[in-house]
Amino acid sequence: MACPTFFTISDSGGFVKYKNQKNENSPKKNKIRKKELTSGVGGVIIICEIDSAAARGVKSEIIAGKEKRDMKHIVEEREKNIRRLVLIVDDEPINRELLGMIVGERYDVIFAENGKQAFDLIRENQGRLSLVLLDLLMPEMNGYTLLELLRKDPVLHRIPVIVLTSEKSAEIESLRLGAVDFIPKPYDLPDVILARIARSIELAEDRIILNATETDALTGLYIREFFFIYVSRFQMFDPDRAMDAVTLDVNKLHIVNELKGREYGDAVLKKIADRMKRIAEQTDGIACRCDGGRFFLFIAHQEPDVYAKWYDEISEEANEVADGPKVTLRIGVYQNVDRGIEVEQSFDRATLACNTPHNQYGSKYALYDMQMREKEIYSEKLLGDMAAALEQKQFKVFYQPKYRITGDVPELCSAEALVRWFHPELGFVSPGAFIPLFETNGLINKLDRYVWREAAAQVRAWKEKFGVTIPVSVNVSRMDIYDPDLEGELLRIVAENGLKTNELYLEITESAYTENSEQIINTVARLRKAGFVVEMDDFGSGYSSLNMLATLPIDVLKLDMRFIRNICESEKDYRLVKLMINTASVMSIPTVAEGVETEEQFRLLKAGGCDMVQGYYFSKPLPAHDFEELIGRETKIREEQTQC
């Protein structure tokens, strides 16, 4: 607690003045002292002069914190129910005392006798001062001049001022100059005055909290939640105006941040935000920083060439920040937004357009259209129906045979499990439509597990029925690799079906290897150690190098079907395939060629040393019971061969 020896206390004509002489002021400490003093002198009004060095400390602290800090301060004050500070400005001592008595009931009070004194006190206490009660007619500097000074100040104008006046005519001028309310003279009843003060403080604080909350600290643009509120309001007040929803995204912001540091990335974002702010101003719109490098605009409808122009301008400004990697953008526009849908949905559409790979084709913006909409709806439906489809076994596992071609006659050796979806309403849904979708939504893990179980059960059924093992390759998506229980799950499935681990083959796509090779290497190594056969799928489709073959632990290499397609026509492709086969063979890795459709392809592959083939030339993917015919035929041939 404060010690009275910190103060010089003198009694002059009923006033107690004190001067805080110690430079260890926090607003809180000042308050405690004053409160003590107030109670110590039995409700006598206090005029206090706050030590200016201390006040400067408070001031600089507040300026540094800006709005967010103010907000924190206010919230804290509210939570702890801390007494606010009110400045009473009146040249008349009796009025000052009277008002001080009333206001002192609930607030800490400081006084000034004229506008000039008041302005100094306001500046010194700006972080703490909650309200000013201001008389208009005063010597030295009157209330009007003070109001004007405050109004022009970017920080001080937020402190609410209630004008003390007996003149109706003064009210308009005061309002014009920014006063928030009036207290008439002679004064109202104390309760009325206190209620008016409380209300004005509350409103002003709410505004600061709102200001600090609704905008993004870095760019000053609205944050997403408030942006949506304002867009809804805009739509309500101006429902007939044609408006566009726009999403702008910085490509690979994280790489910019990584290469040049966060400050650099922030500088780029600020440049973009400034330009967007200007666009919003020019087009009667509002701008928002959604998150990371994504921005939203809600603006009066524009023709597409305007978007192209903005794309150039914003790109130019974003790249003005010196010495950085080139910053590229993409823009998606949902034009003439449908007022019947939710605001969020409008921006989902703009974002969908933004995320279409339009940059690849040199286009500066993408417009949301009906095709995107249909695709979106279709995708949504597929995603929504997936759980039921799993439950009702709408997904069917088909099996495409693989033949060993190292001997004289191609010999059925294994199969690849391929999933098909027979949707009750949509009919056959292409895997090309739902697999990429499930991959982005994390649903692929569920589907993969479903296929693993189905395939394992099938291997077991065939084993029981035919007495031979036809190992089945199942797909392990890159998302599965991140599942810490991947190995456990696979082992459980194998065990449940009484299989050995080498009776279930695992296909992992080549692109997964390049994405996160270390994790893949570790996972694959573990799976192989457990006895699973691991096949690298789609080899040659991405950025793979032959060098990968030396470092990656794999059992089988599946050549991408795009190479196989042209081996008859292109000598170069054929040579490449032969090279891959040879290289794999040097490392004792057998190869599988996928997509073999013609006899000639088969012949060339056999001549090139390929170990296994798979494709329509031999068989399309078959439902389990059709596949059984192949097994039946195969076992018969083998039996005959054995008999011979």
């Binding site: 009923g14 409700g43 040249d91 008349e92 001592p93 009796i94 009025n95 005392e97 009277l98 008595m101 009333i102 009931e105 007619l137 007996s166 003149e167 003279k185 002679p186 004064y187 009843l189 104390p190």
Partner: protein, 115 residues
């Protein structure tokens, strides 16, 4: 010695004045004491005598606020009238109103000095 009873007798709206002082009698009486010691009524007289209506308005306006807040109705009334005339800088003979204000103030001083 000034008391609330005496002020009531004098014609002040003590109920209103006291409520404005959070019903603190001592505080109210102290403020009335300050009003008695105030020299602005003198200054108003001087300004009127000098024909300086601006200065006179300032003084009258201040007095009006002061007397009004303390609900000293008898002295408030003539001061209020003067303030409104002076606001428009009306050229008129202010002496009757000033004399009335001074008389009321004197009455108050006498009350304060009586037992």
């Amino acid at each position: 010695m000034l008391t609330v009873e005496k002020l009531k007798e004098y014609g002040a709206d003590t109920g209103e004045g006291l409520s404005r002082c959070m019903n603190n009698e001592a505080f109210y009486l102290r403020l009335v004491g300050m009003a008695l010691a105030d020299d602005k009524l003198e200054k108003l007289g001087e300004a009127l005598e000098a024909g300086d209506l601006d200065r006179a308005f300032e003084a009258a306006h201040a007095l009006k606020g002061m007397y009004g807040n303390l609900s000293l109705t008898p002295v408030y009334a003539p001061v209020y009238e003067m303030t409104e005339l002076l606001r428009k800088r009306t050229q008129t003979d202010y002496s009757p109103l000033l004399a009335e204000a001074k008389r009321q103030m004197q009455a108050l001083v006498s009350l304060a000095n009586s037992d």
